[in-house]
Assembly symmetry: C2
Homo-oligomer: 150 residues x 2
């Protein structure tokens, strides 16, 4: 299968995965968050074929995660920038990065270092919290299908 | 391609995506977080072939995200449970769910309702914060490759 379709599945997670497209698309979003904007930059970073990269960029534009702008002074020159919807994937990307840092790299020799630009300090682990900011664990949260009445 | 390999890519995000496997695997983790443990429960929830489900469960066990236990009283009866590593995907899953709630469902008629079991209140949006709990936006964070010296 080239891409799995979850759009018939009533779930924000399944729908999100469907809109993001596939792992490559999430790595494109990662690179956009690191400041990349040009086709060539994504191409060099990801090492995938131009064909696949073109498809994935097109889909992210179609889904409103990236916007494509012509910034050429002389002739066409496309840039891809994150939209508000794309920037909102920030906690997803950071949570995934921190998970890998902890469980794959065991906190050592981390390939990407994340720091608060203002203070130079590391970013805190992303946590799920209640409305007052108290940390919630998996066991504290009820993930249920929508009730009949609410 | 059946699964994309990122394991030569030095990045916790790429490595995490490689370990999780594919979108189906992340939906299996979602279902495990909702309390599912049995092959039949995952099968009914996801509607994928038994063959694909067997492969994905096997890979999640191999990567240490799920553990398989024989809980049969009479004969073999397997259960799949999240390990500590699997439970740690909680912020990833919740961040993804909240993104879909906001950008795909626009906050209306949400298919899955997440509540704090203790208070019945909704879970707060997952945020990236600094060490003191101050929210950080994408522009506040420097995502750089590991420096030569640190």
């Amino acid at each position: 299968m080239s891409r799995t379709r979850f759009d018939s599945m009533e779930c924000s997670i399944a729908q999100s995965l469907d809109q993001i497209g596939d792992w490559w698309s999430l790595l494109i979003v990662r690179d956009a968050m690191r400041g990349m904007r040009r086709f060539g930059e994504f191409h060099e970073s990801l090492g995938i074929s131009r064909n696949i990269l073109t498809q994935r960029l097109g889909r992210l534009v179609e889904q409103g995660v990236l916007e494509r702008r012509d910034v050429g002074q002389h002739g066409t020159h496309w840039e891809y920038r994150l939209t508000a919807k794309g920037r909102d994937l920030f906690p997803v990307i950071i949570a995934l990065l921190q998970w890998g840092d902890k469980w794959i790299y065991f906190g050592e020799n981390l390939p990407v270092v994340m720091r608060d630009r203002a203070t130079g300090r590391p970013v805190a682990p992303v946590r799920v919290t209640d409305a007052d900011g108290r940390p919630l664990e998996l066991r504290d949260v009820n993930l249920s299908q929508r009730p009949e009445e609410d």
